[in-house]
């Protein structure tokens, strides 16, 4: 059974991202990057599914894929160090500036190419719930649609897994749903579904030496018009800091005095 994890490299502190006031673009250079924290749970869950398979006598394989600049290789190395079998980096200047639809499209082509090379379908695609920088949670469902498979978001527990189907709990508003899906399927996993392992020293050594293929537009057989900014239906037209128009009226005095002042004001205002 083949499990594939989609990951993303993100700024270590998304709130530190600043806007270039001249160009209205985000300044990403020189900012420390990490594997999107939500994706660590996705990697860990894939490794656990592989362990579950091997205990039932099935062979499992965990592959990891990301789209990003050349330095995103380090995110894939971290996944291999945790225990993933192999990884692919989708990287090309033409991929830059992609919105969620263009990103999902590029990933779908990467997955198709992996499937062509193995001659078999990927059985389970796992994504983190969302990225901490984009924060949209859209790429998973969009990718599932493009792959023509069902998707289950916010999975908090995998109840059972067979060769043909999977049964999970997914968080819903006001509770959770138990849901059963045929394979292949795409899952996005909730933070806390597991405790992601820390890479071992041996894993780190293996990751450093791992051959990680880099596929660009040509390898994926995509036109430049279908990917990156050119392939993205959405445009950012303005980026600005949120207004801070409200200034507090500060109430001062003893606790009793401020309590009286506040209650007076609230009784007038409400």
């Amino acid at each position: 059974m083949h499990v594939l994890v989609c990951i993303k490299q993100v700024p270590a502190d998304p709130s530190a991202v600043k806007v270039d006031r001249k160009t209205n673009t985000l300044i990403r250079e020189g900012i420390p990057v990490v594997v999107n924290p939500f994706d660590l749970f996705a990697i860990e869950e894939a490794l656990r599914l592989r362990e579950r398979m091997s205990s039932s006598g099935q062979k499992g394989r965990v592959s990891v894929i990301t789209m990003g600049p050349p330095q995103a290789r380090s995110a894939l190395e971290e996944a291999i160090a945790m225990g993933a079998d192999d990884a692919v980096l989708l990287s090309d200047r033409a991929f830059a500036g992609a919105d969620t639809l263009a990103t999902a499209y590029t990933l779908s082509r990467g997955i198709r190419r992996i499937e062509d090379s193995t001659g078999a379908k990927v059985d389970i695609v796992i994504c983190g719930r969302q990225s901490t920088d984009g924060d949209t949670a859209q790429v998973g469902p969009e990718l599932a649609e493009m792959l023509g498979i069902p998707h289950l978001v916010r999975v908090r527990k995998v109840e059972s897994l067979t060769r043909e189907s999977i049964r999970v709990e997914r968080i819903a508003d006001g509770g959770y749903d138990v849901i059963e899906s045929c394979l292949p399927v795409l899952l996005t996993v909730e933070k806390g579904i597991n405790q992601p392992r820390v890479p071992s020293l041996r894993g780190l050594m293996r990751a450093r030496k791992a051959g990680i293929p880099v596929w660009g537009a040509q390898e994926l057989g995509v036109e430049a018009q279908q990917v990156g900014l050119a392939g993205s239906p959405t445009r950012v037209i303005r980026v600005f800091s949120p207004e801070r128009q409200r200034r507090a009226e500060m109430l001062t005095g003893s606790p009793e005095a401020v309590a009286r002042l506040l209650v007076d004001r609230l009784m007038t205002a409400m």
């Binding site: 006001g174 959770y176 138990v178 409200r246 507090a248 609230l266």
Partner: protein, 335 residues
């Protein structure tokens, strides 16, 4: 052309609150575009038995701003199953070509909308807080917070249709229902393939179901600055006197002092009460993301430089353990 569609997510035969907010927010968009405001109402086998319920829901949607309600009927449109819902909306949108298509940013809406967007090959902007029509271009301007609310971004979808967005609950105001409003109803019966993923059980799980903080008109919220779990009791007392509910910030949940159902913020619930009293909450963006649209914000904090004072209406610099008991005494004294 120029129609604005909203997805009417239904739970147990009733549209969610966000549906009415979408109608309120969508109304001026449709007026600016000179088009109709339509609601897509999925009606599956689990609700189909009650025709009177369906008619009441349709009337309600029209009273709340819809010009047209598409009732989409199929036995597969049950529960929160993305595939049949996406297929039904795709077929409808392909036939009638709306200019704008909006979903509430609920767990289901955030899962369904991208599936629909990918089918239609169009753009989708997540978690919008403001929508308007650009006078010059006629494009939908979609504004959302980004990078943990540090930055606001306005986006468009210039060349593909529909222009799609998910809209945060409580970001838009519902209209006062007008029972006299007239609207059309179009019933579409869909023959949908059975989905690959099926909901087999729906489990309600809110240990704290008695209190839904998103419904509270008044919220007394505690942060790390309250010092210890026991101090939540005085917040409960204050909330009780005001007829409100107690909420908390993330660190309080992480410390195990309160259940997650009480958490306000980016990773918790989004609230918009008439009065929000923030006790010992510094005002990190992760928290303010969940409460900044409250009508009146009172901040009580030891640190005069705490960012919560930037968004507060009234600020008190002081120890929560002294101010809150003084407030309780003051309120009791006025009874």
């Amino acid at each position: 052309m120029g129609d604005v569609w909203i997805f009417a997510e239904v739970s147990e035969g009733r549209p969610l609150d966000v549906v009415y907010e979408l109608l309120g927010g969508g109304r001026p968009l449709a007026d600016d575009l000179g088009g109709k405001l339509a609601a897509i109402l999925p009606w599956g086998a689990d609700q189909a038995g009650e025709a009177s319920t369906k008619e009441a829901v349709v009337r309600d949607l029209i009273a709340s701003g819809a010009d047209l309600v598409y009732v989409v009927q199929s036995r597969e449109l049950v529960l929160r199953q993305e595939e049949p819902h996406a297929q039904a909306i795709y077929e409808l949108a392909n036939q009638y070509r709306p200019d704008v298509l909006l979903f509430g940013a609920t767990t289901f809406g955030l899962s369904l909308a991208p599936r629909v967007a990918a089918k239609l090959g169009t753009g989708l902007i997540a978690n919008c807080t403001t929508l308007s029509i650009d006078k010059g271009s006629g494009l939908l301007l979609m504004t959302r917070p980004a990078f943990e609310e540090n930055i606001m971004a306005t986006m468009t979808c210039p060349d593909r249709r529909p222009q799609m967005a998910t809209v945060r609950p409580r970001a838009m105001k519902r209209l006062t229902p007008d029972p006299g409003r007239l609207g059309e109803v179009l019933t579409v019966v869909c023959d949908l393939p059975s989905p690959g993923a099926r909901v087999v059980e729906v489990v309600k799980e809110d240990q704290d179901q008695a209190v839904d903080i998103t419904d509270a008109k008044i919220i007394v919220a505690g942060g790390r600055g309250i010092g210890c779990k026991e101090n939540l009791e005085m917040l409960e007392e204050l909330a009780h006197l005001l007829g409100g509910a107690v909420a908390v910030s993330r660190p309080v949940v992480d410390a195990g002092w309160a259940p997650e159902s009480r958490q306000v913020g980016q990773s918790g619930k989004i609230v918009s009460p008439k009065l929000y009293i923030a006790c010992g909450i510094s005002g990190a963006v992760q928290h303010t993301a969940g409460m900044s649209s409250s009508d009146i914000i009172v901040a009580i904090n030891k640190d005069p430089g705490a960012p919560i004072f930037d968004i507060a209406t009234y600020g008190i610099v002081g120890d929560v353990c002294q101010i809150v008991p003084a407030l309780i005494r003051e309120l009791k004294g006025r009874r």
